[in-house]
Amino acid sequence: MRSGFLGRRVIQFHPTLACNLRCRHCYSGSGPGKRGGLAAEEVLPFFAAMREEGYETVSFSGGEPLLYRPLLAVTDALLAMGYRVNLTTNGLLLRGRLLGALAPRIGVVAVSIDGPPELHDRLRARNGAFARAEAALDRLREAELAFGVIHTVTRAGIPHLPWLADFACRKGASLLQLHPLDPTGRGAEVEAELGLDEEARARLYLLGRLFEDRLPGRVAVQVDLHPRSALCAAADAYRLLDPAHADGLAAGTPLSEVVNPLIVTERGEAVPFVYGLAPDFTLARLAGNWRVDLRRFREEGAVRLQRFLAACFAQLARSSERFVDWYAFLARRAARTAPAHTVAVS
């Protein structure tokens, strides 16, 4: 059963800010200077509990997840719990024994490609980054591992989108994900230069939908933009808005039915819907007593989150935007209204 606007119930796991690149548009502010990551023993009991709450897929992101030391051990534990595991990477380390180890474990590997070589290297702030990412795609194909191309759409990248669609197809990708620049982390610093205005978003939406039609059926195209009016009309996909939850989560309701995706950040915080949602919306802290946090969410926090969602849909209905990145919209709205929706966590 769908939950929110996603077909599967997903945990996005950002275990570390460590990264071997310092991309100009990074939504999390990751980079070579960042160290550390969440310990396996800190996260695994939480993930086991979340499996019971109906989550089906864990998607590693970062930072660069291939720099996360316990990656394979955590992945094995997640697979044993019955999760499907996906991973997003810049591709630089995707070779040799690590690739061989990942192949039987990972469902889909998404490699970030920000445009043709010159643009990709400029945004990734590293000469040769494109060539190495392209080589990673070739190795993934040779390893017969399902993979996709994930593209952060910038104003500079829009003219190159047809090239990108052909590139992804030529490389044998099974997914082309087009995601508008997130104005969080370092993305906020470049939003004025690279962010998408209303016209760019309309062009992106149309192009993405046209690619769906033109590319072979084996390439799924995902555009993380939706017509505003269609989102408003589909608000009932958010079951948290059901009056049954007006006084707290109705008994027996799995968390995944009302919070999807669930984000686990490198700080060990479980956050609803989108990385970068104001900290006041944190559902639980893994370093603390997260079981108590989750119980408190069921009793009190769910009501606040319900009000927040309702306010978001009301705001969306009044908005003049034509195409909306729903999760970025939630993050923006949360940043403005967070103090009124503070959720207490242990």
Binding site: P159, P162, Y205, L206, L207, E212, R228, S229, A230, R322
Partner: protein, 111 residues
């Protein structure tokens, strides 16, 4: 409908690099907004950009009214009952013009 890949690639490029002007893009975007449902498919055809909607039978009446009242483009509607394999679904095709210069005479003749 025709699916000429070369024409499609040319018109995609026209959108990407801005040859399809802002007004045409926003006109199309506004039509999508007006129908309050995301198109099931967006494709190129001999008329320009086609928006294909798939609407459950229970919503078909309201959807057709919205086509006429909100979109104000429907001198004639063609409704395709799919029947097979999903009998409760109908298909309505909405056609809009793409002012790319690719085939202006043809586009004019369809109005």
């Amino acid at each position: 409908m025709s699916h000429d890949k070369t024409l499609g690639a040319h018109l995609e490029r026209a959108i990407a690099i801005g040859q399809l002007d802002k007004k045409a893009v926003f006109d199309l975007a506004d039509r999508i907004q007006d129908l309050r449902i995301a198109p099931a498919r967006v494709d190129w055809c001999i008329y320009g950009i086609c928006l294909d909607y798939v609407v459950p039978r229970g919503r078909i009446g309201g959807f057709l009214r919205e086509l006429v009242d909100r979109l104000r483009v429907a001198d004639r509607l063609e409704v395709f009952p799919l029947g097979i394999p999903v009998p409760e679904l109908w298909r309505v095709q909405v056609i809009s013009d793409a002012r790319t210069g690719a085939s202006p005479g043809l586009i004019e003749s369809q109005r």
